[in-house]
């Protein structure tokens, strides 16, 4: 994937994430609201940096959608935390691709963004996966990949079941 396309994909995911954290912030339980706010601010900064990168690469930054369909209902703090983790997992995937597609300082930036997404995902979910962002390795040795329709512009899934416990060592998750 060319760098410009990878950067646009990352920007698209950051747009969705900024929107998603708006929802998260409205539902999250009190003591984690500050964390959600920090994540929201951090993702806006990443979004702005990607816009600059895309312009530097000669492209036109894709705009955010007016709204995004959520992958599941978010009625409470537990669902909000799960949404936040899913947002970060999706970002890990696009930033892993951007690492591959870029070089030098931009690659370093993308690797940093991947690292932040992986850490935030663990903070929200409590567990992690062995290869953050490497969606081809999701499956038997990692927790299921986030639904590809997570935070898409189209209708999302109506799955409201809890995520299976991923803490067992045998499943290979963090």
């Amino acid at each position: 994937m060319k760098e410009l396309a990878a950067a646009q994909a990352a920007l698209s995911a950051e747009h969705a994430t900024v929107y998603g954290y708006g929802v998260v912030g409205g539902r999250i339980a009190g003591e984690r609201r500050k964390e959600a706010r920090e994540a929201y601010d951090a993702h806006r900064a990443r979004r702005d940096a990607l816009r600059r990168t895309i312009r530097d690469l000669g492209g036109k930054p894709e705009p955010a959608a007016a709204a995004y369909a959520l992958p599941f209902a978010v009625p409470d703090g537990t669902a909000a935390e799960r949404l936040a983790a899913e947002l970060e997992d999706r970002l890990a995937g696009v930033y892993a691709d951007l690492v591959r597609a870029s070089e030098g300082a931009r690659r370093r930036e993308a690797a940093g963004a991947l690292r932040e997404a992986a850490v935030r995902s663990v903070r929200w979910r409590g567990t992690g996966v062995p290869f953050p962002g490497l969606t081809e390795l999701h499956g038997s040795d990692q927790a299921p990949a986030p639904s590809s329709s997570a935070l898409s512009d189209g209708p999302g899934s109506s799955d409201t079941s809890g995520r299976p416990d991923a803490g067992s060592g045998a499943s290979g998750t963090l």
Binding site: A92, Y95, A96, D97, V99, R100, A101, E103, G104, R107, R108, A110, A111, G112, L114, R115, A117, A118, V119, S121, V122, R123, T127, G128, V129, P130, F131, P132, G133, L134, L137, D141, G167, S168, G169, A170, G172, T173, L174
Partner: protein, 178 residues
């Protein structure tokens, strides 16, 4: 699909397979057809990438041994460290064999290479110290990988960034309240 090996210079056949593994997806950008003067640098790049990947495997194996030492010394930490140890074992596996061609089972702690102390030798006596030592090891390795991935071929850079991210997440888990 391994690329045709360059005609210049001899090399072990295994190099072709590894070049193919790292070459899938265009890792060796700008590969020529094997006849041009730029191939010497392509060979150097491929050799550098192999060395980088080998070092990554060794670093994860060392970290794995540290986990096993901590687990042996502090059995009460088994539930907390087990999943992290499993992930590090997966790192060793995938870094060593990215396309899963050899089908190795999850590695046990490797035999100490060339005179290293046994895994249990330097484990802090208290659980908190053991966790802190692992967190520090994870953090340092993640930082080292983040530096080295900048010059790596694209696909290897992506994998290194992922395991560096996993290491940072491990450090967070190890340093947080249980």
């Amino acid at each position: 699909m391994p690329r045709t090996p360059p005609q210049v210079g001899a090399g072990p056949p295994r190099r072709v397979v590894l070049a193919g593994v790292l070459g899938a997806g265009g890792a060796l950008a700008g590969c020529s057809d094997g006849s041009g003067p730029g191939d010497a640098s392509e060979e150097e790049k491929a050799a550098g990438a192999r060395a980088l990947r080998r070092r990554a495997v060794q670093q994860s194996e060392t970290l794995l041994a540290q986990y096993d030492g901590a687990l042996a010394a502090h059995t009460a930490l088994g539930e907390r460290l087990g999943p992290l140890r499993t992930a590090v074992a997966r790192h060793v596996q995938v870094l060593d064999d990215p396309r899963g061609q050899r089908g190795r089972s999850t590695p046990q702690s490797p035999p100490s290479p060339s005179g290293e102390a046994s895994p249990g030798a330097d484990v802090p006596e208290d659980e908190g110290g053991a966790l802190a030592a692992l967190a520090q090891a994870e953090r340092r390795l993640a930082e080292s990988r983040t530096r080295s991935l900048v010059d790596a071929p694209p696909e290897l850079a992506r994998v290194l960034a992922s395991v560096a991210a996993a290491g940072a997440a491990h450090a967070y888990l190890l340093e947080s309240e249980s």
